[in-house]
Symmetry: C2
Subunit: 183 residues, 2 copies
DNA sequence: ACGACCATGTAAACAGTTACATGATTTA
DNA sequence: TAAATCATGTAACTGTTTACATGGTCGT
């Protein structure tokens, strides 16, 4: 139940059309809450019907026309409520860890190549986060809003740092193993 | 599409009934691939219909009777295929990071208490992982299977270590902030 | 006028969650 | 013999993904 709140947050940061939101969910906010354009359009419809957002005056309602939304007071209130509410962490699902555990019983054949590929992806993501940090959070800027957003970015950087380190060790271990296909 | 593979892995580690699998998905394998008993029973039915697993001879098919399953060669082959196949990482969804980003626009009121609660949960999980490490991976044991499973556990330990550290900083920052409810 | 792309949308399939139902076994 | 718990299951719902459809705009 967090997609509407991700959208409300994005719209409060800047009123946007569906496609603009889609673009922002491919970077920025999408780094920790991804969504496709189909999810976004569906949810925008619900939020508008619910009185939490509205289309900006300039927007045409016809198909193929850009339509921008802004958050109404009811939407802001709902987001504040949700942000403050206690929530249990969702259980994890990590296919790569599962595959390593599977490899312990069926063998590691073919695994190393994909571990290397994941390592490269995480390195790239880490580099991108570090670019964003240099660009958006130079030393000195520290309004409360910036401190919070920087904290979120630090989580991303530290997580990618962990994954690159862990995958490096994993590749070494798997490479050093006898290459059987049964356990 | 990983639940069947999680189940195949668990069944290869040890043939089990639905309830036993459910228990193991509450610890062990469930730490990185959670599943409820409804998912498990549904999937066991599919895997059996598909010829990847079968009920052990001793098992009665009546309701309320324990029924254990073992993996057939077709199931092992499918698991090996899946383990070796290239897979893109799934996009992340982390509600807590989203809430911090939301707090940057609607204020941090009420957030600190839940951050502290999450910190406590992660500390507990970290302690549990460390217990498992002491119990199951004493220095010296290092068959290939153990090394892989230990690697998976290390990922869990390092991730929880990251979260406890990050949440500690987050609590400090949020506590130090002026407690407004708009941004 | 045609192709490429922009922008919004529909539909169906798939995965995961929540609520409830049912029979069997154990324990007070 | 009643209540609690074990064990398996059904059904309905919510959320996510994938494939496709439709109209508008821009460049050639």
């Amino acid at each position: 139940m967090s997609l509407p709140h991700a959208i409300l947050t994005a719209l409060l940061e800047r009123p946007s059309s569906g496609l603009e939101l889609t673009r922002r969910f491919d970077r920025s906010i999408g780094y920790f809450w991804s969504a496709t354009h189909q999810q976004i359009y569906r949810e925008l419809g619900k939020l508008e019907a619910d009185g939490q957002i509205r289309a900006l005056a300039s927007a045409q309602p016809t198909r193929g026309q850009k339509k921008s939304y802004e958050v109404l007071p009811a939407g802001r209130a709902e987001l504040a409520r949700w942000t403050a509410a206690a929530q249990d962490p969702k259980p994890h699902r990590d296919a790569l860890l599962l595959r390593l555990r599977a490899a312990a019983v069926v063998g590691t054949e073919g695994l190393e190549a994909d571990l290397r590929r994941h390592l490269a992806l995480h390195r790239r993501q880490l580099a991108e986060y570090e670019d964003i940090e240099r660009r958006d959070f130079p030393p000195g800027k520290d309004s409360p809003e910036d401190r919070l957003r920087h904290l979120v970015l630090r989580a991303g950087i530290d997580l990618e740092t962990f994954w690159t380190g862990w995958l490096t060790r994993a590749v070494e271990e798997v490479a050093a193993m006898p290459d059987r296909s049964a356990g």
